[in-house]
């Protein structure tokens, strides 16, 4: 069964460092998303990406965040200068069409010290 894969599964970093979280969406999907879940809190939408550009972003997704699809398979989330409050589980998701099922990866746990 096709699946969304994310790397790394867990990353520990120092405050102020840059972090790149990687995702490989399902191969024929066109819509890509990042969500995050701070420990003990709700899963929150960060950004959606379609046709090589951001289609929507939340207020959480400020200038320190960026997304990129550098090749035909990867979809990355970059955090330029991490803060303690960026510690969370980050989920990548993809969808084939605009209203199809959203498939989630297993998440990347980011710990900022």
């Amino acid at each position: 069964e096709p699946e969304v894969t994310q790397t790394p599964s867990h990353q520990v970093t120092q405050m102020g460092q840059e972090v790149i979280l990687r995702c490989v969406p399902i191969s024929n999907h066109l819509y890509f998303y990042w969500y995050r879940q701070i420990l003990g809190q709700k899963v929150e939408f960060l950004v959606s990406f379609y046709n090589n550009e951001i289609s929507e972003k939340s207020e959480i997704f400020d200038d320190q965040f960026s997304v990129e699809r550098p090749d035909g398979s990867n979809f990355t989330l970059k955090i330029r200068s991490t803060k303690l409050e960026d510690s969370a589980m980050y989920f990548c998701a993809s969808r084939g069409g605009r209203t199809g099922e959203l498939f989630f990866g297993e998440g990347s746990r980011l710990t900022v010290l």
Binding site: K42, S58, F91
Partner: protein, 113 residues
Amino acid sequence: AQSVTQLDSHVSVSEGTPVLLRCNYSSSYSPSLFWYVQHPNKGLQLLLKYTSAATLVKGINGFEAEFKKSETSFHLTKPSAHMSDAAEYFCARGDNAGNMLTFGGGTRLMVKP
């Protein structure tokens, strides 16, 4: 703003007894509603979705949910709990553009032998 409320953060049932996980949403014209399950160290898996067709929606693993517009509810049920059902369950609603999901706070289901 759209919101989703899961009324119970924890639910504990005995194996073989019914499961009820409650979800209420803020009123909106024709919401799309979803239930996801998250097992430990796993991603979010879609259990079922409502998209303005039948009000009683059947999902995987014997779960069902009923859309009740008058109560703005979309509660998840299962007639008989199994040990493997122990997980975190998230109710979510989609926006009209299909870009983002708004999640509830989650309900941790514990199943006692």
